[in-house]
């Protein structure tokens, strides 16, 4: 996280609010364990420079994340990822829910029996390499 390189390659789309894309990116990192509970997140300035977005947008994203209790800021110390298990599992559930919903929406167009689909998912999931 201190290297910062991993923040640089975040592709933004132009049709979702930029600050929400930043929030979502944080959630993905938390859910995939690349940001762990209690870890210090980059300062607002650092993140703006790394992700090439303006300081206002970073500010809005951090505010949103604080409201959603994703990150905590105490006094003047740097913001940290929450250690609240409830929040962490909520993030996980949210991302998983979204992914499954997107998947379902796309396979629904193909008329496939649910058992066959689940079998296929199971086999692919086990075959797939562990990375990412």
């Amino acid at each position: 996280m201190n290297t910062g390189d991993e923040w640089k390659e975040v592709p933004f789309n132009s049709r979702d609010p930029v600050y929400l894309q930043v929030v979502r990116h944080f959630k993905e990192r938390i859910a995939t364990g690349r940001l762990s509970a209690g870890q210090v997140v980059p300062s607002r300035r650092e993140l703006g420079a790394l992700m090439k977005i303006n300081p206002n947008t970073v500010q809005k994203a951090y505010k949103e994340m604080e409201e959603q209790r994703l990150i905590m800021t105490e006094g003047n110390s740097p913001s940290k990822v929450t250690s609240d298990a409830e929040v962490l599992s909520r993030i996980r559930a949210e991302l998983l829910g979204e992914a499954v919903q997107a998947f379902v929406a796309s396979v629904r167009k193909i008329d496939v029996p649910i058992d066959e689909l689940l079998q296929l998912v199971k086999r692919k999931y086990e075959e797939a390499p562990e990375h990412d």
Binding site: F12, S14, R15, D16, P17, V18, Y19, L20, R45, G48, A49, M51, K52, I53, N54, P55, N56, T57, K60
Partner: protein, 229 residues
């Protein structure tokens, strides 16, 4: 806040501005978008008192433009504002001499960041370097607002990148930034507000993230609607 209300201007028997109204807030990056000849530069010049207007009003934090304005608002035009024969070091001295809000330390940092040399002559700067030096002169003033006229026009990729970096840095934090452009390009994710000019008037003015959230449209999408119609 910079408030432009119903400003009008005629030039060579043509209405360049026919009632332009918009505002640019402190702490926000506002982008004035318009095709070439839409009067973007004229608006910035009018705010800076560099060209008279035929009607309407301009207020900066409630005050009418005047000599005091020039400590509060910095302007980065699309051309050099120092004599060709001057060396960069002399230009620094000139600015320090005349502006109470000149921040020499920041100017020095920016010289290094942009890779400029104090002993160069203004007249010998390439287009990209000149744009960087122009920007340096504006950013090194401790002003509340900074106006930039086409900061990306006609310069090389690496100069563009260096200048884009400025927009993501503390250099503009807390300041109100108002800049003009005719193509949004890589700035799409960097701006807070967009003001679209068409036919001497403001066609649309919106908060970019709100537009994306509410209508799912990017700045480019809205530009397409306005300029293709």
């Amino acid at each position: 806040m910079i408030e432009v209300t119903d400003i009008r201007k005629r030039y060579r028997r043509r209405d360049v501005l026919s009632g332009v109204t918009f505002a640019a807030d402190k702490g926000q990056i506002t982008c004035l978008i318009g095709l070439n000849g839409a009067g973007k530069s004229t608006i910035l010049k009018a705010i800076m008192g560099l060209t008279p207007i035929a009607g309407g009003s301009i207020r900066i934090d409630g005050q009418a433009p005047g000599p005091k304005l020039y400590e509060k608002v910095a302007f980065v035009p699309d051309r050099l504002t120092m004599p060709s024969g001057m060396k960069l070091i002399e230009a620094h001295r000139f600015m320090a001499d005349f502006y109470a809000g000149w921040n020499g330390e920041r100017a020095g940092e920016l010289m290094r960041f942009f890779g400029l040399s104090y002993s160069d002559r203004i007249g010998s700067l390439s287009k990209g370097t000149a744009a960087k030096f122009n920007l340096l002169l504006g950013l090194s003033q401790d002003s509340d607002y900074i106006l930039m006229d086409e900061p990306f026009a006609g310069i090389d990729l690496f100069s563009r990148e260096a200048i884009t970096e400025v927009f993501t840095s503390e250099l503009i934090e807390g300041r109100g930034v108002l800049f003009t452009t005719h193509e949004i390009g890589e700035m799409e994710h960097l701006i807070d507000r967009a003001v679209l000019l068409q036919g001497g008037k403001v066609e649309r003015a919106f908060d970019c993230d709100e537009m994306r959230g509410a209508e799912g449209k990017s700045v480019i999408d809205v530009m397409r609607e306005v300029y293709r119609a």
